[in-house]
Amino acid sequence: MRARVFVTLKPSVFDPQGKTIADALHSLGYGAVADVRQGKYFELDLATNEAAQAKQLAAEVADKVLANPVIESYRIEVGD
């Protein structure tokens, strides 16, 4: 089963890359893009067919390695 992990900086943490991208979009005329947050995306191929187990495993990996809990939070989607 596949798990997708989306890691972003916490809302309380300033994201200078997202800000720069938003500024660039504004200068291109995309004023409707109010804000941009940049993050990381991981696809995990897991040796399990149980959604609950896949989600738990992905969360464990995200806690230990993929995200730094001091500055980042994550969201997990499971399924193919």
Binding site: L9, S12, V13, F14, P16, Q17, T20, V65, L66, N68, V70, I71
Partner: protein, 231 residues
């Protein structure tokens, strides 16, 4: 005394640290490969600058899984002095040996220049030779030195006097243009609660000889050499 300089794949200031310890200060030093499992009798450990394991995922994130880090952790827990410089500081944060995290520089630029630092604490083994409030001029070179701690942790760091160095102007006053990376509270260096583990973004090993443009980094090495002599 014997320095242990840890070498990760991608370290690039290991030889500078070794050179400072041996050629400048006349001490013994040993390289510790990241796959080693013991510290070869080191009495002080330096985690040098560079890009350990390519800094993949996050700066310092992969290095904490190197076998040598178990030995470094045990050494730190027994009170052994550990200094993380630049990437070494980032590794100490990711390994949980120091609190907080590094963000991309606020300017998004890699900053390579001399900065001014105010010594906030002199009761660490790496700053004991300094006077409180002393100003140092030492180079930096990093893209991710924007130190961040959430408000509750930041308060704890300040209350416990764990901020060791701050970025200031040449007179020792904190001012926005003199903070090269946007670090919260202008933090350039912190220590752990026990004060034996210190992380700093500036490179003292690059400021030990006049030929290199300044000698203010000597204070860091003089501190640890005299601290160990007393012990």
């Amino acid at each position: 005394m014997r320095f242990g300089v840890v070498v990760f794949p991608g370290s690039n200031c290991d030889e500078d640290a070794y050179h400072a310890a041996t050629d400048v200060f006349g001490q013994q030093a040993e390289y510790l490969w990241h796959k080693d499992t013991d510290l070869k009798g080191a009495e002080v450990v330096i985690l040098p600058g560079g890009f350990a394991h390519g800094d993949y995922l996050r700066t310092g994130a992969m290095a904490r899984f190197s076998p040598i880090m178990n030995a470094v952790r045990g050494f730190a827990e027994r009170g052994g002095p550990v200094l993380g410089i630049c990437n070494g500081f980032q590794i100490l944060l990711e390994a949980g040996l120091l609190p907080g995290a590094m963000l991309r520089n606020k300017s998004l630029k890699y900053r390579c220049e001399h900065v001014y630092l105010r010594v906030e604490q002199t009761d660490t083994p790496f700053t004991s030779a300094a006077k409180p409030g002393q100003i140092l001029r030492i180079p930096i070179g990093h893209g991710e030195g924007n130190y961040y701690a959430p408000p509750d942790l930041l308060k704890r760091l300040e209350d416990n006097r764990q901020v060791v160095l701050r970025y200031t102007d040449p007179t020792g006053t904190i001012a926005e243009p003199w903070n090269p990376n946007g670090s919260v509270n202008a933090i350039a260096s912190i220590c752990n609660e026990r004060r034996n583990v210190v992380g700093m973004m500036p490179h003292p090993e690059r400021a030990c000889e006049p030929l290199l443009g300044g000698v203010d980094g000597r204070m860091i090495f003089e501190s640890i050499v005299s601290a160990m002599a007393i012990r």
